[in-house]
């Protein structure tokens, strides 16, 4: 109950205008869940499910995608010389809408599929939707994992509490030190990309990939850590994705709560429907799912293109039947084998180049940027920008990746509970001091806009 009240206050503090929307969404989804289960005929159950889908997707489309569709529609008409002008509506994006709507969607589908029982307690259900550590930016939780934890009486566990603190410290470090320091370079380089040589542009893109990861995984670690303080275990959202060997490995480890959601509610039904087309059906399903993953991030063609590219990267894997290689890179070894290093680094470069489309405003600009990278000047030695800070940021990033590397098989990126007391406290102090010295405050997180 206290958690629920604080969640509501938290959301209201962030943006009170959308509180009504959140409450409305909670109540409607709660009743639809009950209705689906009570209905005896399958036809009726399905009708309530569809009602829920329309309501939730409708909310998303209205608040997030209305202007996008509207503008694209008018542009298409203009091609046929209709000569219309358009005024975009001033629709504000409610915080966290993509995250909580996906949660309620998953909830209704699970109830319909008889995977879970609908919640019979409005307060518990409200907490499931609005739980404050995760409402703004995920992880996108599942009712089957979270509802039982809300129901049960939670006992204080010292170990879990301390582990939560550890995770918060690491998340904070990732966000205020790594992401923010990278951001300074990234902004400078992306905003003036015509002024720099290809080698600098490549460094800029690399820093951006790291910034994006540190920003979002940092947020996720903090959210999961804070939640641990209250005894609720949220799902893992990142599992050191940069240490993957192929693209399917990468997506198993990147934004896990979104990709597993897409896997269960989009990819599986779709590939099931298309199963008689064998590999072609599989490829269509994968590409469609990834376009949707991209589009989920926002109403811009850059995100659609980003998703499309990732979908396309899967095609060779489907044909060579090498989708599954979930074994960790360099399992139990500090140094990866030569072959694995090559795979890891090439995958990382593909991610870096694709992430460019995530950063720029239009697909065209993305291509311009890539063209800038792949020019003769790629082989020039990079101009020094921002002096010594370059080296410091570089060292910080290496330290960050090193800690993640040694913890890649642990339950989270900073799970150092099994180290000796001295080592642990040296690590805490070191990371804490680094955060104090190099930390920068920032107003927001990249993923708050989604």
């Amino acid at each position: 109950m206290i958690l629920l009240v604080s969640s509501i206050i938290f959301y209201a503090y962030a943006d009170y205008r959308f509180l009504i929307l959140l409450v409305l969404s909670i109540i409607i989804n709660y009743y639809l869940g009950l209705k689906i289960r009570k209905a005896e005929k399958e036809v009726l159950q399905r009708r309530f499910l569809y009602l829920g889908l329309i309501f939730n997707i409708g909310l998303l489309i209205y608040f997030k995608y209305f202007n996008f569709f509207y503008e694209s529609f008018v542009k298409v008409l203009n091609v046929f010389s209709a000569d219309l002008s358009y005024n975009s509506l001033q629709i504000l994006l409610p915080l966290g809408i993509s995250f909580f709507t996906f949660q309620t969607l998953g909830y209704l589908i699970d109830v319909y599929n008889e995977e879970i029982e609908p919640s019979k307690n409005l307060l518990e259900f409200s907490l499931f939707v609005s739980y404050f550590p995760k409402i703004l930016s995920g992880p996108i939780e599942r009712a089957s994992k979270m509802m039982p934890q809300i129901k049960e009486k939670r006992n204080f566990s010292y170990d879990v509490f301390v582990d939560g603190l550890r995770q918060i410290l690491w998340g904070l470090f990732a966000k205020v030190v790594i992401a923010e320091n990278c951001a300074d370079f990234v902004d400078l380089i992306f905003d003036n990309y015509t002024d720099y040589s290809g080698s600098v542009l490549l460094i800029g893109a690399t820093f951006y990939a790291i910034q994006l990861y540190a920003d979002f995984s940092g947020y996720s670690n903090m959210a999961i850590g804070v939640s641990k303080l209250f005894g609720i275990q949220l799902m893992r959202n990142f599992a050191t994705p940069f240490f993957s060997k192929n693209i399917s490995d990468f997506w198993r480890k990147w934004h896990i709560s979104l990709t597993t959601w897409m896997l269960d509610y989009v990819f599986t039904p779709l590939s099931f429907t298309l199963r008689k087309y064998q590999k072609t059906g599989l490829i269509i399903s994968i590409v469609f799912t990834f376009v949707l993953v991209g589009f989920w991030h926002g109403a811009n063609w850059t995100f659609v293109f980003y998703g499309l590219l990732h979908g396309i990267y899967f095609i060779p894997l489907v044909y060579y039947g090498k989708l599954n290689s979930s074994k960790t890179t360099a399992e139990n070894n500090l140094i990866p084998s030569f072959k694995n290093s090559i795979k890891m680094v090439s995958l990382f470069m593909i991610i870096v180049l694709t992430d460019v489309f995530f950063r720029v405003d239009t697909v065209f600009l993305g291509f311009q940027y890539l063209q800038g990278i792949f020019s003769k000047s790629l082989f020039y030695s990079p101009e020094i920008i921002m002096g010594n800070t370059t080296y410091i940021t570089f060292a910080l990033v290496l330290f960050f990746l090193f800690i993640e590397w040694i913890n890649k098989e642990k339950s989270h990126d900073f799970d150092i509970r099994n180290y000796k007391l001295v080592v642990r406290w040296t690590c805490y102090t070191f990371v804490f001091v680094l955060t104090l010295i190099f930390g920068k405050t920032s107003e927001t997180f990249i993923y708050f806009q989604f």
């Binding site: 599929n113 599986t268 590939s271 099931f272 199963r275 064998q278 599989l282 994968i286 599954n324």
Partner: protein, 79 residues
């Protein structure tokens, strides 16, 4: 159909799609335990099983599959 015959057919399907037989057919076997049986090969396996038994799954059936035991009982209910 006997459980043993069903299991044997499933084993053949798995072997033909995954190209190996490093797994034991017991009721608690899950896709996770079998090398190569992931979300993407899953649908090909399902299609092959449908062909082998001449049955059609529903999406709801699929969601209920937790391990080999549940797969066998779902197939049995369709025969």
């Amino acid at each position: 159909m006997e459980t043993i015959t069903i299991k044997d057919t499933i084993r053949q399907v798995l072997e033909s799609i995954l190209n190996h037989n490093n797994f034991e057919m017991h009721d608690e076997l899950t896709a996770k335990d079998v090398d190569g049986w992931d979300s993407l090969s899953h649908m090909m396996i399902i299609t092959k099983i449908e062909e082998a038994f001449n049955i059609k799954f529903k999406l709801r059936d699929l969601n209920k599959l937790k391990n080999m035991g549940s797969l066998v009982s779902v197939i049995q209910s369709k025969l």
